[in-house]
């Protein structure tokens, strides 16, 4: 709080000019005020992340702006700013508590890969009937390869032995089957 007190005279002079409509003085006032507020918020709420601190700093600046007519030029400015700052910190704490009441804290997020796309929670092919229909419409060779490898989960060797085709041909059939399914399902 000692630093903030040394800024009193300068800040008060700028605020008086700002109330009179001096935009340059107002910009200087806010730019001078922001680090002072940031420092105070940090020292009062050490556990906050820098994003949360910045949110409060912005809140304080906006609040100072909206009630700037309540500053009486004949009175000290710092107690005026501190009262607004404390009020906004309490409001932010209230918001924080409200928000965390609706959040569930988890230690590990159910994420399999770092890539966002690999963690799509919703099923893109939402309609199982459409999938069944699309599988029925595949050429016989592709359908058999898909059923053995993807539905019954046989190994390539087992599937090749069961169907009497080569491993390479099975791979190609499955690849084509999946491409065909993707095309027919996304088309719909």
């Amino acid at each position: 709080m000692t630093k903030i007190q040394t800024d009193e005279a300068a800040l008060a002079a700028l605020m008086r000019a700002a109330q009179g409509g001096d935009a340059v003085a107002y910009a200087r006032f806010l730019k001078m005020l922001a680090p002072v507020v940031r420092r105070n918020v940090r020292s009062l709420r050490r556990f906050l992340s820098s994003d949360d601190v910045e949110d409060i700093v912005q809140d304080v600046l906006i609040s100072v702006h909206t009630v700037r007519s309540t500053y009486d030029p004949g009175r000290p400015l710092i107690p005026w700013v501190l009262a607004i700052m404390r009020n906004r910190i309490v409001d932010a704490a209230r918001r924080y508590v409200r928000r965390s009441a609706h959040e569930i804290q988890v230690d590990e997020l159910p994420v399999t890969f770092a890539d966002e796309d690999a963690n799509i929670e919703t099923d893109v092919y939402g309609d199982p009937e459409a999938l069944k229909q699309a599988i029925r419409e595949l050429p016989a060779g592709q359908r058999e390869a898909l059923e053995m490898l993807k539905l019954r989960q046989l190994s390539l060797k087992e599937a090749a032995a069961a169907s009497g085709t080569s491993v390479g041909a099975l791979k190609v059939s499955v690849h084509r089957a999946i491409s065909a399914l993707r095309k027919s399902l996304t088309k719909e």
């Binding site: 109330q19 009179g20 009630v67």
Partner: protein, 219 residues
């Protein structure tokens, strides 16, 4: 949104502002605005026939003035609570005239009891008080709400509670001029009770009435 961008937007949105007057000066302005309203209500409801006579009764005058001063002190306190950095203890200011008001009514009850015994302290329903005070206090309440919204909503419930007390105090002052009801216990329960109830209602509405404004959409 970056803080520097917020500052740029605030500077862009800044227009010259006239500093608010002191709470006392704002109270005088409020009184000037609302006095004609209360006077009009008293005239419409027609002043009590014995008003001139009652003005010579010190007990009546003390009660009347105590209600008025309670309202005025509550208004000063209400305006002061919307100024950042003001001592919050100013909220206790109306307690003094309120104490005089309650004290004089309590003394009246005591006098009746000494004179007529417990039978003199009969409490009958008087359903006029609440709506009449609400009616006479409506204008002061609206003006108070508009004026309080120009301040900072630092303690919204306290500010509107005091604002409600100010408006209801003035309403009660008006009521005494047209409603013939002088039994201390009746005044204490129905009139002062209505004033408290209205102030409490105003207090409950505080967070809705007084909120921090947003000069622009804030991400």
């Amino acid at each position: 949104m970056e803080t520097d961008r917020v500052i740029d937007q605030l500077v862009g949105a800044a227009s010259p502002v006239r500093p608010l007057r002191t709470p006392l000066a704002r109270t005088l302005i409020w009184l000037l605005i609302v006095a004609p309203f209360v006077a009009m209500i008293v005239l419409v409801m027609s002043p009590r026939a014995d008003l001139i006579e009652k003005m010579a009764d010190p007990k009546f005058v003390i009660e009347l003035l105590a209600a008025l001063v309670t309202g005025v002190a509550a208004a000063v306190a209400a305006f002061a609570t919307t100024i950042p950095g003001r001592d919050r203890r100013i909220a206790l200011l109306p307690l003094l005239p309120l104490g005089v008001w309650l004290g004089s009514l309590g003394y009246g009850c005591l006098q009746t009891w000494v004179q007529y015994g417990a039978g003199g302290l009969r409490l009958q329903p008087d359903w006029v008080c609440f709506p009449a005070i609400a009616l006479a206090g409506a204008g002061p309440a609206i003006a108070m709400a508009v004026m309080l919204r120009r301040g900072a909503p630092l303690a919204p419930r306290l500010s509107t509670l005091l604002g409600g007390l100010a408006a209801a105090g003035l309403g009660s002052f008006g009521l005494r001029l047209f409603h013939v009801q002088d039994a201390s216990l009746m005044v204490l329960v129905w009139q002062v009770g209505s004033v408290f109830a209205l102030a409490a209602l105003a207090g409950f509405a505080g967070r809705r009435l007084l909120q921090w404004r947003r000069p622009f959409a804030h991400a």
